[in-house]
Amino acid sequence: MNILECTDIEKSYHQGKVEVQALRGVSLSIEKGGFVALAGPSGSGKTTLLNIMGGLDSADSGRVTVDGNALDEMNQSQLANLRLHKVGFVFQAYNLIPVLSALENVEFVMLLQGVLPIDRRERAKAILDDVGLAGTYDRRPAELSGGQQQRVALARAIVSNPSIVLADEPTANLDSKTGKGLLEMMREMNEKKKVTFIFSTHDHMVMDYARRLVQLRDGQVADDLVKEH
């Protein structure tokens, strides 16, 4: 069963009079429970594709369905709702709200969802423990290392059991050891909680962790490889 379906996605940007074709007809099906890397050189369209998959940006043509919902038929408010309940994001940097503690950052999504305060505190603590951040509940993002910040972001992305987590170069700002730690954590969450992950990277070490590797080049899928483990 496919949790995410992209069909003939096209997207171009206008910079003044110049038109940049970021995606030229991308079709991709992501199976439930997948652990998929989107690789490709800089400018190949990874970020653009992830943004469109999560309903942050809209495609010029083509269709995206997340868990059976066609994104092109939804308005801003419905898209927000979809992101709130079905999609988790981990960005390359600036993932966290600076004035909130680690625990509050993780709780925030559940606050938007209307989860009761006691439940949300409990679940946020449990997930922070899972990603190895038991002692840092009350620290602000500025008081956390880069790796710890990304783990908080990961915790926040999965705490509400989304159908899919989209991570745009989650390890790009981390040293390789810390990056590995985060990937181990992601894979553990993928295996334990059956959360589907799609993450972009141009780092070979990161690609090695993926069970499926999709190569983008010039806005098109150049290679799609399912690895045997």
């Binding site: 801003q76 408010s77 709130l84």
Partner: protein
């Protein structure tokens, strides 16, 4: 020397037993006080008086008291007039002055409106990345609007607390000695104003001013709030 009730010249000499000091020299020049019986004799008034002046505690009460008196004294030979009717020049000047105050308030409130919009827009643009993140996480545009308006609400309440305190403090400080306008006294006498004026606080004015500030503040905050809600998450997150 004056004219009596028969239209004849009436005069008599009085011995000055004292002088009085009034707020204004004009008042001192205008009035000499004699006993009522002496005046009645000199002007051949018998037991009558020509005029009764009533000083009321509040100047706004004039009209109300006058109409009550008119109702009670419905005999045609009494005439009841308020000070506004008797001093129409002063009344006109006061009305003009009220107009100026209104304009002044208008200018101040418009300036305040721009001030609030500016402050909030800056506060919003400063956190454009955070707003982008909130939207990416699934915060609906309407929530963002509510968020910014709530912030503006707290700013307004804080501002009103500080502003009212400062206002009361300055009134308190000035109400002891009043505001001395002696240097302008000659000009002010013309309109019958005293040399020292004292600030008074009316409950109605406080409530009105605060209400206007509050409502105007919230209304103008809608613009930055909508602006914040309209950032697309991608644009906002790309912003550095």
């Amino acid at each position: 020397m004056s004219q009596d009730t028969d239209g004849e010249i009436a005069s008599r000499a009085f011995r000055i037993v004292g002088i009085f000091r009034a707020e204004m020299a004009a008042t001192e020049k205008q009035f000499a006080f004699v006993t009522i019986t002496a005046a009645q004799q000199m002007l051949k008034l018998g037991e009558s008086v020509s005029e009764v002046s009533i000083i009321l505690p509040m100047y706004e009460e004039g009209e109300q008291v006058a109409s009550a008196l008119r109702a009670d004294l419905h005999r045609a030979d009494y005439e009841v007039q308020t000070w506004q009717e008797l001093l129409s020049l002063v009344t006109a000047i006061l009305r003009l002055y009220d107009g100026f105050i209104f304009l002044w308030f208008l200018v101040v409130f418009i300036a305040m409106g721009f001030g609030i919009v500016n402050t909030l827009l800056m506060a919003v643009f400063e956190r454009i990345r955070e707003f982008g993140l909130l939207k990416a996480l699934g915060m609906k545009p309407w929530w963002v609007i509510k968020e910014v308006l709530t912030e503006s609400f707290f700013l307004l309440v804080l501002g009103m607390v500080i502003g009212n305190s400062l206002g009361f403090l300055s009134i308190l400080a000035l109400s002891g000695n009043g505001i001395d306008l002696s240097s302008l006294a000659a000009g002010l006498e013309f309109v019958g104003m005293s040399r020292v004026i004292y600030p008074i606080v009316h409950g109605k004015d406080i409530i009105m001013a605060n209400l206007v500030v509050f409502i105007l503040g919230l209304v103008v905050s809608v613009y930055p709030a909508v602006k914040a809600a309209k950032f697309s998450a991608v644009e906002a997150m790309a912003h550095t």
